[in-house]
Amino acid sequence: MGSVNDQPHYRFPPASAYRLNRCLFALKSDDGFRARFLKDARAAMGELGLDAADAAALLRGDRDALLARGAHPYLVFMADLRLRMEREPVSFEFF
């Protein structure tokens, strides 16, 4: 799964994936957007104009599909982590 061996791990983010990456960026870094997404994901994705295929991949949490659609791996990783932290608070030791 994931990247094909001869492909770089981090690729140029295609313009076709701008809105998808914008949404992942907001899930990672915008607390307000993340809260709206958790309340009503479809409405939140609608704010950013995601198309149906992007929205479906994001709702499924399907990393490989997201990467295939041009999502940046780091954004997928951190957006997913921040959502999981909200849904099922993990216990951390804070330093």
């Binding site: 994931g2 791990h9 983010p13 960026f25 940046h72 932290m85 804070f94």
Partner: protein
């Protein structure tokens, strides 16, 4: 003048440790950070220039600078529950951006961009007491095409000259590395042997070898962030590394290193 040089991991699990992380390993890296803090205090630094790769926090696809300098009066950011703010050494920041441009580097500058956790994690653990102002320097590592390691090294060489000519006692720190692959199917299998070979070269004072590495190799080895180290090494020439620690976790090669410039 340039009085100290360091490279520090910024793995976020060192700051907020979930149960997946080996606590003893985390504490060993903290001990290495504490050594850096004591060194910065002994060096009586007036300012800390820190080069890190923004993790798509300040710079999204709307504007992607290759090299940027924070030149505001202060900078701030958040990471989870952490809220942080640092004064910027304005005269030093301004001289870096002005002299950098004079030397042929077409720098992006910002007086307001958020400060990523890649800057914060090392500062959280190593900021000397009393605290000193900083100059954050960004190098693009996550949004291809990134600057080549050679370009980073050349920028670092210019930075070294600029810092050495300043009246302040400045320490230069690179944040990031070593091998890790966030968001990919390689996350649990970094290239630790590559890291160890590189650290051996740095102990021998062969830092300029990093300038000759390709961006493709850095990507393959999970070491895209070593562009920050290449920048630092450009300022250091053939100085030999003192490796405080190299602690490979299940997903990340954590190193803390000092050079005497």
């Amino acid at each position: 003048m340039l009085v100290g040089a360091f490279a520090c991991a910024h793995t976020p699990q060192l700051l907020a440790r979930p149960g997946t992380e080996d606590r003893d390993l985390v504490l060993r890296v903290h001990a290495a950070f504490a050594r850096v803090k004591r060194r910065l205090e002994a060096l009586r630094v007036d300012a800390l220039a820190i080069v890190a790769g923004d993790h798509v926090e300040a710079f999204f696809l709307d504007a992607v600078p290759a090299l940027a300098v924070y030149v505001g009066s202060e900078c701030a950011g958040t990471f989870g529950r952490y809220r942080y703010r640092f004064p910027i050494h304005e005269p030093l920041a301004r001289s870096i951006v002005e002299q950098g441009v004079e030397r042929g580097f077409d720098l992006f500058y910002t007086q307001q961009a958020p400060l990523d956790y890649a800057f914060y994690v090392p500062l959280h653990f190593t900021m000397p007491e009393p605290a000193v102002p900083i100059v954050p320097l960004h190098v693009n590592v996550y949004l291809p095409p990134q600057p080549t390691p050679r370009r980073c090294y050349e920028w670092g060489r210019a930075l070294g000259e600029i810092l050495r000519a300043r009246p302040e006692r400045v320490a230069f720190m690179a944040s990031g590395g070593m091998s890790h692959f966030p968001g990919t199917d390689r996350y649990a299998s970094p290239e630790f042997e590559y890291d160890r070979r590189l650290l051996d070269a740095l102990k021998d004072g062969r830092g300029r070898e990093l300038a000759a590495v390709t961006g493709e190799e850095l990507d393959k080895m999970g070491n895209i962030e070593l562009r920050t180290w290449a920048t630092l090494l450009g300022a250091l020439g053939d100085a030999k590394a003192d490796v405080y620690c190299y602690e490979p976790s299940w997903h990340h090669g954590n190193a803390v290193v000092e050079w005497v410039p």
